[in-house]
């Protein structure tokens, strides 16, 4: 199947430089795809869907007949990131996470950044995700955020921008690993010929990161993953990661705090726990400290955490960095703590609590994208260019009534990547979520990431809750480095 009729429509394309002329890194892929017939490609697409179905990588369809499950939509044409682009992304992410960790340390302690007037105190005082019980906590190694997923987008000119920080419980990494698994099965020959960096090291890196948080005297720490349970939409990922790391997958009801330490109920009595990888929002982890109605957490957990009896990743309180108003200040945060200029720029952002900026936003609602400060998943959002008058009026109202809760950004013409639509290819908008691990000494960026794709024609919303799917993301080795592509060696055997 060829791409001769594939149109770029003026967008930046992840596989093509110009019509019929692929980026250097995409040439092998497109050549190999060209050798496959329509039928063959369709067949492989079905094989991929069947594999995902059999793996049970499904979600329940709400509001439909009981027991109806669907796979998360997956497009088989990978998205490719060149070595040069990746090196740049990696540097930018490491810088950002380092700065945000310093910010978290400061904001829950001395708040120097407020005293020095870099961020207005008002922003923090009114932040929903600034958790008062976390003030003066001192997480192990002074590190708050160990695991993050940062959303990147690319504009018309190919420039990468940071769209959103996810420092609470970012999900999606299991799809990165499973998508790769599926693609290796269905496109072995294409995969073989491209020099793709592998992603399967992630669980081992994650486990190392988690183990590094345990108290120094514990030689063989017990690490667990805390999940809300099987009805959570990310449960598949929780189980997958626990399985890959060989650690216990626990629910709140499996845990108990006795004598100031956290233990799990086992068939042989209670067993002490040293590190918890939480996949539950901080609000829910301890009904004694946060939401008293939470059934998912463990009463007394925060007390044990404060006393250093257990480590939690990410530390409760990291959500303040996800606040979209705080996001607007990240360039200043990087400058303040690292004395560096931001490498991967933010999307220009208007904060609506500022009178002047709000005025501009209200006058330009038809061209801007408005977002609520603490929503995610594509909710609480207005895309001006696609909106009706009534929707704009609704948002104007909301902004006026609660300006602190809204930001606005210019509409980015998100880059596109081809997807298979029946018997031909069409371009669809994509974003990219790389995953970053910090253990205090090193920062590891998984060479890959989740490429989310808006499957609906023309749509700019890539979230799975809004009709988005995913693609495998191929980060390529440096083609000039003779040592890297191991496959050259094996081919001479």
């Amino acid at each position: 199947m060829d791409f001769s009729s594939y149109k770029l429509d003026g967008f930046y394309d992840e596989l093509f430089e110009s019509p019929n002329s692929p980026h250097p890194g995409a040439r092998v892929l497109l050549e190999k795809l060209g050798e496959l017939s329509k039928d063959e490609l369709q067949k492989r697409h079905q094989a991929a869907e069947l594999a995902l179905m059999n793996m049970g990588i499904t979600f329940n369809v709400y509001g439909s007949e009981a027991g109806v499950e669907k796979i998360f939509p997956f497009d088989i044409i990978p998205r490719i990131v060149s070595h040069t682009d990746w090196t740049y992304i990696e540097k930018g992410l490491v810088q950002r996470i380092q700065a945000l960790n310093l910010f978290l340390c400061d904001i829950y302690a001395d708040q120097k950044i407020l005293k020095d007037g870099i961020i207005p105190r008002y922003v923090i005082d009114t932040a929903k995700e600034f958790l008062k019980p976390c003030v003066d906590l001192s997480p192990p190694r002074g590190l708050w955020c160990h695991i993050s997923g940062i959303d990147l987008v690319r504009d018309k000119d190919g420039q990468f921008y940071i769209l959103e920080d996810n420092l609470r419980c970012p999900s999606g990494v299991s799809y990165v690993l499973e998508n790769r698994e599926v693609l290796k099965r269905i496109f072995p020959e294409v995969f073989e010929a491209s020099h793709v960096r592998h992603v399967d090291d992630y669980p081992a890196q994650l486990l190392n990161t988690l183990r590094s948080l345990s108290p120094p005297h514990v030689t063989s720490p017990t690490v667990v993953l805390l999940t809300p349970g099987i009805y959570n939409s990310a449960y598949f990922e929780h189980a997958f990661l626990a399985q890959q790391m060989g650690i216990e997958l626990v629910e709140g009801r499996d845990l108990v705090v006795t004598d100031g330490t956290v233990a799990m109920r086992t068939t042989r009595g209670f067993q002490r726990i040293d590190v918890i990888y939480r996949r539950i929002d901080a609000d829910f982890i301890d009904p004694k400290v946060f939401r008293p109605d939470s059934m998912l957490g463990v009463p007394g957990l925060m007390e044990a955490y404060k006393k250093g009896q257990v480590a939690i990743a990410n530390a409760p309180g990291t959500g303040i960095a996800d606040d979209k108003v705080v996001y607007a200040y990240v360039p200043q945060i990087i400058k303040y703590y690292l004395n560096e200029d931001i490498l991967l720029p933010n999307v220009p952002t208007y904060v609506c609590w500022d009178d002047k900026q709000r005025e501009h936003v209200l006058e330009n609602l038809d061209t801007l994208v408005v977002k609520a400060a603490n929503e995610s998943g594509g909710y609480g959002m207005l895309i001006g260019v696609n909106s009706t008058r009534a929707e704009r009026e609704d948002f104007a109202n909301r902004i006026t009534q609660n300006p602190r809760n809204y930001i606005a950004q210019p509409t980015i013409a998100l880059s596109r990547s081809p997807i298979l639509v029946d018997d031909h290819f069409e371009g669809r908008h994509v974003d990219l979520r790389p995953y970053v691990l910090c253990n205090g000494e090193d920062t590891y960026v998984l060479p890959g990431g989740l490429t989310r794709v808006a499957l609906k024609k023309g749509s700019l919303v890539v979230n799975s809750s809004q009709g988005g799917g995913s693609k495998d993301t191929w980060v390529l080795y440096d083609s000039d480095d003779p040592f890297v592509p191991y496959r050259h060696l094996s081919q001479t055997h």
Partner: protein, 319 residues
């Protein structure tokens, strides 16, 4: 291991075993009907009795014909013991211990569930043999995968324990029900018709061939002996309890022949009784009475396992 996870794998295993047994009952009965004289073809009710869900059945169906019974036992969502319900439960349990079982096990249980969910019901009714054999084979495939892809660790032993107890339960139930229906027809004893019935009973537990190797001709006394007291056949009650007992002792580390918790005590005692019981004693006492008492004892074991391993509260803390 986590108590919750131990309970989940125990039930995952029980539900799968249950589904397989129901499929075999149906498959064998369909065959049996082909061999029976026309006037005796109404024998579908005993299948419902075997599962103990007769009240639920008559609440939902007017008559106990083949189509209704197969529907109830295979697809019915209101029947918690239908094959589909069992697989759904087994799968939900497996889902909650995804990190304990191997990926291969998960994929097989998942495929198995989808396979039954997607069965074309009218076709299954028309050609039951193919469909129910496929279900039985899917279950065998799962047990093989479990044996060969998962460490034979504590979790695995809980799965074995669940399966063995479920099997013992099912063999005792089918024996009880079939015996009840087989015996009263005094005139038929020793006839071809009688033989067919007893063979069907053995087939329901895949025991016919192994029985013949040991005893040769079909003889009710020997059939009962084989299904209750045999030490080598994997679906014989004695064998199942022996396996359950081994798993239990591997889990706890208590030497066999002694006990340290209530589950070991009740199971060990029942096993010892079986070891020193003769078939004549069982018949003299009355098979139905014997099996009834046996069922009660099995329930006690299940409760004891629950108390010993699955519920622990901070008051018993050793931490």
């Amino acid at each position: 291991m986590l108590s919750r996870a131990a309970e989940s794998i125990y039930w995952m295993s029980r539900y799968l075993e249950r589904a397989e047994n129901v499929a075999r009952f149906i498959e064998v009965n369909c065959h049996l009907m082909l061999d029976l004289p026309v006037e005796a073809k109404g024998q579908w009710e005993p299948l419902v009795l075997t599962t103990g869900d007769q009240h639920l059945f008559y609440e939902n169906y007017a008559t106990d014909n083949q189509a209704n019974v197969i529907d109830f036992l295979t697809f019915s969502p209101v029947n918690p013991n239908s094959i589909l319900s069992c697989l759904q439960n087994a799968r939900e349990n497996a889902r909650s211990i995804r990190e304990i079982i191997s990926t291969e096990m998960w994929e097989q249980i998942n495929k198995f569930y989808l396979q039954v969910q997607n069965i074309d019901k009218p076709q299954a009714q028309d050609a039951p043999h193919t469909y129910f054999t496929d279900i039985i084979m899917a279950s065998h495939l799962f047990t093989g995968i479990q044996r060969n892809t998962m460490s034979h660790n504590e979790a695995w032993q809980f799965a074995q324990l669940g399966r063995a107890l479920e099997r013992a339960d099912k063999t005792s139930r089918i024996l009880d029900v079939k015996y009840f229906f087989l015996l009263p027809e005094g005139d038929d004893v020793g006839t071809l018709y009688d033989n067919i019935q007893w063979s069907a009973l053995l087939k329901s537990t895949t025991a016919l061939e192994m029985y013949r190797k040991q005893f040769g001709p079909i003889e009710p006394h020997n059939v009962i002996n084989f299904l209750i007291l045999n030490r080598e056949f994997p679906r014989a009650i004695r064998y199942c309890l022996f396996e359950a007992n081994q798993s239990l002792h591997t889990i706890s580390g208590t030497p066999e022949g002694s006990f340290q918790n209530p589950s070991e005590q009740v199971l060990g005692r029942l096993l010892a009784e079986l070891d020193y019981t003769s078939i004549d004693e069982i018949i003299t006492r009355g098979l139905h009475e014997y099996l009834d008492a046996f069922q009660t004892r099995l329930n006690q074991i299940d409760n004891a396992v629950f108390e010993t391993f699955f519920t622990i509260s901070p008051s018993t803390s050793t931490a």
